[in-house]
Each structure stands twice: as C-alpha cells, then as structure tokens.
C-alpha cells in the first residue's frame, strides 16, 4: 500500500528499510537561530531518512520547537543550511515547506473547529476557484485505508475526539504528498489508547517509506518509537544515537544513556522522575508516600450530587459526589474538556452550582461568594494563568495581593500600603523561588514557570486549607514541575488538595486516589498502583466513541 500520489520509486522495498546507505530526505547543517536574549538553536545538524522515525528529545526550552518551526517555514534560521534530497533550499514560508514535501502536525491543533473535516483538508489545496469536494472525499478514503482509520468527512472538526482530530491532522500534513512528517509533542493531549493508535498509524506510514521526525519530551516514547534518537539541550545538539545503537541496547540501558544526554551532570537527581522512565508509571508509584496505612482526617471538602452548567463548548458537570479529607491529595483524571473547568469553578464559587450541595468543613457553601469561600481557606489555582490568573500589566507584588485588596495590614483607610506589600511580596518570592529582577517587575513579562510560582505563592499562602490545582504543571519545564509537585505533596501535611490534570503520570505520582471525570460525571475511582494507568485510560474513554474500534476493524 502506498500513499496516494506517490511516485513509483517509493514502492521500492529497499527504500522502506532504513539503512545508513539510504540518502537523507532532509538534512540540516549548522542551523543557528537567535531570539532576543536566547540562543534557541546553536549550530544544529540533523537528518532524517525515508522509512525511519527519528526521535528528537529535549526538555521544554531545549529548542525542539524552534527547529521544527524552521523546517516548516514558520521561522527562518539566522545561519546554516537545509538540504532536501541533497539540494540546498530556503524554506521561508509554510507553503514552501509543503511544496518541498515537508508536512507538520503542530503541537497546537491547526484544524479549524467550525469547519468540516473535508473543508479543513481542502484548505489551501486549490487548483481552481471551485472546491473539488468529490475529489477530496475520494482522497480522504485512500488515506483512511492507508492509515487504517475511518473519518467522517462531513463531521465538524470540533465534534471529533482529540485522537481522531490528530489523525485528521496527520492526513492534512500528508495531503499534498509529503515525504517527511514532523510530529510536535503529538501525545501530550491523548489518552493511552489514542497514543497506542497513533503508534499503529506511524508504523504503517513508516512501512510505506515515509520519513518521520517525532518531537517529544517523554523519554519512553522517544525510545519505543524512534529508530534513531537525537537529544537537544539548551539549544545544542548533544548527540544522536544511531539505529544500530538503539537496536542493540536494552531499553533501560538506553534510557540511562539518554537521561545522561538530556541533563548532563544533573541527571542523577532527575532520574527519579517517573515521566522520564521507560514505561515508568508503575515504578513511580513506589515513590509515592501514600499508603493505605495512613489515617485520614476529617472531610474538608464534600460534594454531594453537584451539578453545574457548561459554558459554550465547555461542558458542565452532573451528579458529582466527591470527598476530600484532611491530609489527602485526590486526583481528577480525564480528557480535556470533560467538565474539568465546571468542576473547579463550581467549587471555587466562580460558577453557581445548579444542583447538589458543596460543603466546606462540613458546612454548605453553595450560597457563599468566591471571596467568602476564599476566606474559609479554599483556593483555586487556575489553569488559565495568563487569562484569569495574573494581571500582566501589574507588578508581581500587586498580583500577589490581588485577592486581598482592601484588607489590613496591606490596605489601610482604603489606600494601599506599598511598603507592607512589597516586604511581604519579597518574602513570598524568596519562599517560592520566583526568579525576577524584583517585585516591581510586570507579571506579564515572566516565563510560564515563574508566573505559576507567583500564583502558587498567592494561593498557598495566607491560610490556605483546601486547594484545587487545575493543570498545575501544564507547559512548565521539568525543574519547576518537580517543585510544583513537591508543593502538592506537602498539602498532605494538615491540608487537602484536589488535583485536576490531564497528565496521567502526574496524577499517579502525587495522588492518594484518582477519580475519573468523563462527560461531566465521575465514572470511577482508582488507587495508584500497577495497572492503574490502563484502568484510568479505559474509564476516561468510557462511552466516548474513540477511534480505536474503527482502526482495528479497518486493519
């Protein structure tokens, strides 16, 4: 089976087997890209051959995404050379990249939610004024057969499950006959089942002779999928493990080598992180201090049959029963957009519950305002840092006191006491390790990690008792992630935490127990331990028709 519109040479079986002799499809030589204050890519050389998956591994900020943006024509390098089939080229626009046969699946979806699958695929693929819907439908069928998936061309992109959306994105990247597929962090939003399916699809494409660059920061993915593995660190190429090395080294040995490459000398400290391990989820559980032997305190937060309306495309919740005890960290797992926000906001008071009862320290709080709940010790760490977390144009100090406006001793007689605020803000910045020139710095100029630390400082201080963490480490670098998870674990010391996250590894690492949210309902509860990930994955999909069934029947 061959991808539609491919030349006959692609059917050559020799081309399907990766070997050192096969000429590279795309080759980068000495690529350097500088942004103001950052050397994002420093003299990087890299190549990818037909019929191989080349994993590109590195932490957030290592320069992976910049390199990808250069290949797909979003950015142009300051120096260095790109060769396609041995010919030097200049990729100065996404169009040029597509014309050269480089298709990209970006980390953030480029599907247009309001358009149908077919319209999304036809976008930019015009040869004439009229859209060729019939031709596109036939082509989609060919791709469906090749990938082993079945997509409804008339469905609106917004109505598809995330795994399915990604399949459409892959088809879109290959639509104009690409020979190189770039996948940027493709698994970050998927359920374990959808990840499996992605592996299957990539396997089929590889057998068909496609070259793939697989960008990830998850080691076990890079190792299990890559024929070759390259590691970036702080904008530099640390090295490439070639096919022979990858093939002959046992996985756990390989993992050690790669961790060493990613973190250098600091590797030893970081090897405890579950996320980095090969299939590390189960092992991480052992590290969790939680155990059935621990005695739980009083219930601090109780939800009895709570319902809350959805807003726009964001669904509501119904019939949610949940108890969080003193000294307990409860995780809420689920695919994004299954009512996480409604749950968090119903508890925090930002959204009025339409049914049921929310109790804090045993007393109902349904009628209490956000402010009154906050005074009782309830805090909500939002997932929308920039939107509702901070006010970008205000100083760090003022952002730390946003929720205490008017309260003594920081305000007196209606006017702000700047000195009192700055002094306390400096303490907090010290305590939470906020890296900034000073407390006067505008909060909007901070990096994502420091911004999150400012929010944590605000929410965890001033007598917090019950804290809702919503995607607490989303988009943060590894060091900050570790720090944040440590803070969550410390909540066990006399406080209580509800951690809403789409990162299953994270939940397994920090939670005492995990409830699963699907379509606005809690569909089950799982204790972290061997096999928990699979069990949660199964609950997460529930009755949501994911693409798995379609893939198997077509295969």
């Amino acid at each position: 089976m061959t991808r539609p519109d491919q030349g006959s040479s692609r059917r050559d079986p020799a081309a399907a087997a990766p070997s050192a002799r096969t000429a590279a499809v795309v080759e980068l030589q000495g690529i350097t890209k500088r942004f103001p204050g950052v050397l994002a890519n420093d003299d990087i050389s890299f190549d990818v051959r037909p019929g191989e998956v080349h994993s590109l591994l590195g932490e957030n900020g290592a320069g992976k995404s910049t390199l990808m943006a250069i290949l797909s024509g979003i950015q142009t390098p300051d120096s260095g050379e790109i060769r396609v089939d041995g010919t030097p080229v200049r990729i100065d626009s996404p169009r040029k990249a597509l014309d050269l046969g480089i298709g990209t699946v970006y980390q953030h979806s480029t599907l247009i939610p309001a358009l149908t699958v077919l319209e999304n695929l036809m976008l930019g693929d015009s040869t004439g004024l009229r859209l060729d819907a019939a031709g596109a439908r036939a082509r989609l069928e060919e791709f469906g057969a090749l990938l082993g998936v079945d997509v409804d061309p008339a469905a609106r992109a917004a109505d598809l499950a995330l795994g399915r959306q990604q399949q459409v994105e892959i088809i879109k990247a290959l639509w104009r006959g690409s020979r190189l597929l770039i996948l940027d962090e493709p698994t970050s939003m998927l359920t374990p089942q959808a990840v499996e399916e992605l592996y299957t699809v990539l396997g089929r494409l590889k057998a068909d002779g496609l070259a793939t660059i697989f960008i990830t920061h998850k080691l076990h993915e890079a190792v299990s999928l890559g024929d070759r593995i390259s590691v970036l660190r702080r904008g530099q190429m640390v090295g490439t493990l070639n096919a022979d090395a990858v093939g002959s080294t046992p996985p756990d040995k390989l993992e050690e080598i790669v961790i060493e490459m990613m973190f250098g000398a600091a590797a030893a400290d970081l090897s405890e992180v579950g996320e980095l391990r090969v299939g590390g989820v189960e092992e991480a559980d052992a590290a969790a201090p939680a155990g059935p032997a621990r005695v739980l305190g009083e219930p601090l937060l109780e939800l009895v049959g709570v319902a809350a309306p959805g807003v726009g495309t964001d669904p509501g919740i119904a019939d949610v029963d949940l108890v969080v005890h003193e000294g307990e960290v409860v995780g809420v797992a689920g695919v994004d957009g299954n009512g996480q926000r409604a749950l968090a906001e119903a508890i925090s008071g930002q959204r009025r519950a339409s049914g049921g009862e929310i109790r804090l320290f045993g007393a109902p709080v349904n009628r209490l305002s956000v402010l009154k709940r906050e005074k009782l010790g309830l805090r909500y760490l939002t997932d929308d840092r920039i939107g509702e977390g901070i006010v970008g144009n205000l100083s760090i100090a003022l952002n730390l006191f946003l929720k205490r406006i008017g309260q003594p001793p920081y305000w007196r007689y209606g006017s702000v006491r700047k000195r009192a605020i700055d002094a306390r803000a400096e303490e907090l910045c010290e305590q939470f390790d906020v890296r900034a020139p000073g407390v006067e710095t505008r909060a909007g100029t901070l990096s994502g990690g420091n911004m999150q630390k400012v929010l944590l400082a605000r929410e965890l201080s001033f007598g917090s008792k019950v804290v809702i963490f919503h995607k607490p480490t989303y988009g943060l670098d590894l060091k900050t992630t570790l720090a944040v998870r440590e803070m969550i674990r410390q909540m066990r010391d006399g406080k209580a935490a509800l951690v809403i996250s789409t990162d299953l590894d994270e939940l397994l690492e920090v939670s005492d127990r995990i409830v699963v949210l699907s379509r606005g309902r809690l569909v089950g509860e799982v204790a972290p331990g061997p096999g928990a990930a699979e069990e949660i994955g199964g609950l997460m999909i529930g009755d949501v028709s994911l693409s798995l069934a379609g893939a198997e029947s077509a295969a």
């Binding site: 358009l115 036809m122 930019g124 015009s126 009229r130």
Partner: protein
C-alpha cells in the same frame, strides 16, 4: 387624511424601501466579506460617504449613472487601502483605524463638496430603470420591486452569489479560515495578509458602490453627512445576519423600509414630526439587537491582527 393603506402609499413604501435598502445591502454584504476574513471594518460609514461623493461627482460630470457607480466603488477602494495597509499589513488596531476612516471620510467629503459646489447642491436627473416584463404590472408590489435601477437586481443576485462563493469556492474557504483561525490558513500555505487584503478591498468597493447608489439613485444629490449612520447600520445587519448573505440581504431591505417610511407617511398625509420618524431606523436597530443580539455570530479571530509566529 389619506388612508395609510392606500395603494399609492404602499407602492411608495415598498419602492422607497428597496431603494433605501440597496446601499445597506451592498455595504452589509461587503462587511460580511471582511468580517468573515477576520477584519472588523468600522470604516464602512466612511467608505460609504466617500463612495457617495466620488460617485456623485463622476455621475454629475460624466453624465452617466454607470460611470457614477464605478466612481463610487473606486472611492470606496481608495478609502479602504488605508485600512489594508494599517490594519492588515502593519497590524494596527482595527477599531481605531476604522473610526478614523469614518471621521476622515465625513470631513473630507464635506470640505470637497464645499470647495466644489459652494452652498449649492446640484441635482442629478432621474436615473434609468429596467422593468421586468409582466412582473412589474403586479399591483402594489410590481412597481416597487420590478421597476427599478438595474443595480437593484444585480445587488440581490450578488447576495445569492456570495452565499455560493463562501460555501463552494477555494477563495471563500480561505476567507472563512482567515477569520476562524488564521494560523491554520498560514500553515496550509495561503497568505493571510493577501486573503484579508482582497476581502477588505471588496468591502471597500461594495461600500463605495452602496454610497454611490445612495447619492445617485436614492437622493439624486450629494449633501455632507448624507449617509447618516447607514454604514454602522450595515455593520449591525451583517452581525445579525450571522454573516450569511441571504439573511443580510433580507434584513437590509427591511431596514430600508424603515428608512423610507418618512416619505410614505408624508404621502399619506399623516402629520408626525420628521425628527421622530427619522429616529425609526435606529430604534429598529436597537430592538433588533435586543431581540436577536444573542444569535449573532462573530468569527473567533475577528479584529485580531495576524502576525506569523507571534504567540
């Protein structure tokens, strides 16, 4: 007092409604093109008044209705190039630039009118009409709907064409993508700036054409500030019609009727202060917004400049 439902009164109401509705229809269809592509064109009012002036001048000196229309469209195109350069290419705030174009358009045309004609307001002759055989003989609605300037029919046909254009052509798909998610259009290899530029350009041409029609066919004269907020009304119509051209066209004609009610009432001999009646269209706008405002649909990327790679 003559009966309000007298045949002549109704005929005048419908005929006047169509003539007053066509400028709205053209401008609102234009606005729907640019809004679909993600450009909120608040300069519509300015483009209309500039089109009204250039259209009137062209028709007056060249003694041709059609050259007048062409002049109107040309004036609108000229005015919207400012918006293209500042908003689409340089990424400035669309609301500020739009208001500036409107204010500048009103001012410039008043000054030019004064310099050209002083305090006289020369009138154009009656414009030619095209009768549709048989249909124009239908009582009451016949003369109003089927005995009009050719541009009336073309305008209505254009609204139908636009529906097809958005749905079934590649350019229409590009336009929608530019307004929904410009980065996706860019990633698909189509220039967002070019797509939006063409969109705004056609908006300018249509608004100018509408203004030209207003001066040449509707009034037969150019007076300063003669558009009287019709550009803004067209923006509201476009919003209420959810950018769907057929709905936009229907709403335009309804608003046209509310604009022409003054004449009809005078014809019927009903004595109400004209100031009161002149408020009608604006009250209609507010009522429509209260009733249907929630149903309006605006593209997610509306009024957001697009710069590649910016996050």
């Amino acid at each position: 007092m003559t009966n309000l439902f007298h045949q002549d009164v109704l005929t005048a109401l419908i005929s006047g409604g169509v003539i007053a509705g066509i400028p709205l229809l053209l401008a609102a269809c234009g606005e729907s093109i640019s809004e679909r592509s993600g450009v909120l064109n608040l300069g519509l009012e300015g483009m209309m008044i500039i089109g009204a002036y250039t259209g009137f001048v062209a028709a007056y000196y060249l003694h041709s209705t059609w050259l007048g229309f062409l002049g109107g469209a040309g004036g609108g195109v000229l005015a919207c190039t400012v918006m293209i350069v500042l908003c689409v290419w340089l990424g400035l705030d669309q609301i500020v630039v739009g208001i500036a174009i409107t204010l500048a358009g009103e001012g410039i045309t008043s000054v030019l009118q004064g310099a050209q004609f002083g305090t006289t307001y020369p009138r154009l002759g009656a414009t030619p009409t095209t009768s549709i055989p048989l249909l124009h003989k239908i009582p009451v609605i016949g003369p109003g709907l089927f005995e009009q300037n050719l541009l009336v029919y073309l305008g209505i046909i254009f609204a139908v064409f636009l529906t097809w254009f958005f749905r079934s052509t590649s350019v229409g798909l590009n336009l929608r993508a530019a307004g929904e998610k410009p980065e996706a259009l860019d990633a698909a290899g189509v220039s967002v700036a070019a797509t939006r530029s063409w969109a705004v350009l056609s908006t300018g041409a249509l608004a100018g054409l509408g203004g030209g029609f207003l001066a040449i066919v509707g009034a037969g004269v150019f007076t300063p500030f003669m558009t009287q907020g019709q550009g803004y009304m067209a923006i509201v119509i476009c919003m209420l019609g959810r950018g769907k051209p057929i709905w936009v066209a229907l709403a335009s004609l309804l608003f046209g009727i509310s604009l022409s009610i003054t004449t009809a009432l005078q014809l019927a001999g009903i004595e109400i202060s004209t100031d009161l009646i002149n408020m009608l269209p604006f009250i209609a706008v507010m009522v429509a917004l209260v009733l249907f405002g929630r149903r309006s649909y605006l593209p997610p990327a509306l009024a957001l400049p697009y710069i590649r790679g910016a996050r």
